[in-house]
């Protein structure tokens, strides 16, 4: 029990540190990829290839004034970014990151220990992750309502509408793979796809995968669904009055959510961390997550974003009926 507790604490610290650092690195990658796709250079001057730009941005965020508007509800205003960042990381706690591995015997004290690379292998992992990402809605919502700014209110309203609508599509689209696998645990999902590329669920559920990807883009506020902080329309949406580290926490939360969605898509539809031919499992999932992360940047560079009414139309009149039909067809096929 003690070993389990200590191991869990170590894993929590590692995941927090690495994913927070990756979120920072994600901003660098995003700037670089967008720049190359627009025939620019991106950050080049701070450090080799501009890599230390993250540090410069961090210093800037740390040293900025922590501004709280006069009429804001101070407590909620201060807590809202924490909600976003916290829910994003809590959601990660039920996602398996790597295959289970054994620490080599050469390392003292902990040598020979078997480490499952998931903080908590709960049997309702998918529900938990989706629920936590849904609870992440409270970050932008409370932020927008607490800051006494009309742009913030509009941004918060858009966030609420978008999250609530697309939660439905996420849940319904994942339901079909869940019916196939018969479990809500992400480890079970991974173990159901151990038979190489042919056994990936994406071949059986391509529609569910496309729906999940679209809804995932909407839940992480990525282009083409980034209308809750689109500066041409609502200044910065819910983040209008935020500055410094609190604003940074929103972004760490957003990038952590991107990583979570990329992980979910790779585990549920693309075989997760099962070894892929000569590629070991840990590298396979890294490559998959990297691809999905790159896909989000790629889409941002390529596509325009859509209007709020188109967003709602798309969700309720297109995606949700397709998801329901997909579930029905899957159910019929399973019965037969």
């Amino acid at each position: 029990m003690d070993a389990l507790l200590i191991g869990t604490v170590i894993k929590i610290v590692l995941v927090l540190a690495i994913v927070a650092a990756l979120a920072g690195f994600g901003t660098y990658l995003e700037r670089k990829v967008l720049a190359f796709m627009q025939r620019r250079l991106g950050p080049t001057h701070v450090g080799p290839f501009g890599l230390l730009q993250i540090v410069a941005d961090g210093i800037k965020l740390f040293t900025k004034e922590d501004f709280i508007p006069q009429n804001a509800n101070k407590f909620i205003f201060m807590m809202a970014p924490v909600v976003t960042a916290a829910t994003a990381f809590i959601a990660l706690s039920a996602v398996p990151l790597f295959p289970t591995f054994t620490i080599p015997d050469a390392i003292p004290f902990i040598g020979g220990a078997i480490v499952p690379s998931v903080i908590a292998d709960i049997n309702v992992a998918i529900l938990f992750v989706l629920g936590m990402m849904g609870a992440g809605l409270y970050g932008p919502l409370l932020a927008g309502m607490a800051q006494a700014n009309k742009w913030g209110i509009i941004g918060a309203a858009r966030t609420a509408v978008q999250f609530l609508s697309y939660e439905v599509v996420t849940g319904l689209s994942i339901l079909a793979p869940i019916m196939l696998v018969g479990s809500l645990s992400l480890i079970d999902f991974n173990n159901a796809q151990t038979g190489g590329i042919g056994s990936w669920i994406v071949w059986q559920q391509p529609v569910a995968f496309v729906l999940f990807l679209i809804a995932g883009f909407a839940e992480t506020n990525r282009t083409p669904f980034d209308l809750l902080e689109h500066e041409a329309e609502v200044v910065s949406g819910y983040a209008t009055e935020y500055s410094g580290l609190r604003w940074g926490m929103f972004f760490i939360g957003e990038y952590a959510n991107m990583i979570t969605i990329a992980l979910l898509a790779s585990i549920i539809f693309f075989g997760g961390f099962t070894p892929l031919g000569f590629i070991p499992g840990w590298l396979a999932i890294l490559l998959k997550v990297t691809f999905f992360f790159f896909l989000m940047l790629w889409v941002r560079a390529s596509w325009p974003h859509i209007r709020p009414d188109q967003l709602m139309w798309f969700c309720w009149k297109v995606l949700m009926p397709i998801a329901v039909i997909n579930i029905i067809i899957t159910g019929i096929v399973i019965m037969i």
Binding site: V33, F36, M37, Q38, R39, R40, L41, T44, W298, V299, A301, S302, W303, V318
Partner: protein, 200 residues
């Protein structure tokens, strides 16, 4: 095309607004499965590979790299010298001072010991200069011309340049290029000359 000629506009065939629900459904289906979104993805990916591997970057790292500018560009003035003797070309006629529409050129001249006009004082106030190029155009000797120094930010509004500052340094005389810009004769000037009626 003459300005008053009627423009030949071509209407693009965008198709009408769908009238019935069946038409809008067909339009949605057509647009969904046409794959235009993937064309967009392909274009950005292609541009990324061009930028990374084929040198398709559009960025000029400005203070480190500079684009070549046209000889007709009108930046800070240069005072040229005669190539043979190295004496400055300015003959002190004062035309540039007269024509300057922002009154930024100030010059004083006197006769030297050879009874030849000599420039004793010559300043251009670059805080006032609008870089219209009249001085270079009017100069009969191509003595005052526009150079290529366009980085002229300063801490004060008034910025005076003296004659000696703009004059080609005597040791750099061999580097002096003949001016091709505003007011200079064009490269094919000789070919363009027509005989005057008296020559017939």
């Amino acid at each position: 095309m003459m300005n008053n000629e009627k423009q030949k506009y071509v209407m693009l065939d965008l198709g009408g607004t769908p009238a019935t629900p069946w038409c809008s459904f067909k339009q949605v289906m057509k647009r969904t499965f046409k794959g235009e979104l993937f064309v967009g993805l392909w274009v950005t990916l292609r541009e990324m590979f061009k930028t990374l591997f084929l040198g398709g970057k559009h960025t000029t790292k400005y203070p480190l790299e500079k684009l070549p500018i046209s000889p007709r560009y009108r930046a800070i003035h240069d005072m040229l010298r005669l190539l043979e003797s190295g004496h400055y070309r300015c003959i002190g006629c004062g035309l540039c001072e007269k024509i300057c529409i922002s009154n930024c050129i100030a010059m004083e001249t006197r006769y030297d010991e050879n009874q030849r006009k000599e420039v004793s004082e010559y300043t251009i106030n670059f805080g006032r200069c609008i870089f219209c190029g009249y001085c270079a155009e009017v100069c009969p000797e191509l003595a005052i011309v526009h150079g290529a120094r366009y980085e002229n930010a300063s801490e004060q509004r008034a910025g005076f340049s003296l004659f000696e500052d703009m004059l080609t340094p005597i040791d750099k005389l061999h580097l002096q290029k003949e001016y091709e810009g505003f007011g200079a004769p064009s490269v094919d000037a000789d070919a363009k000359i027509k005989k005057t009626p008296l020559a017939y």
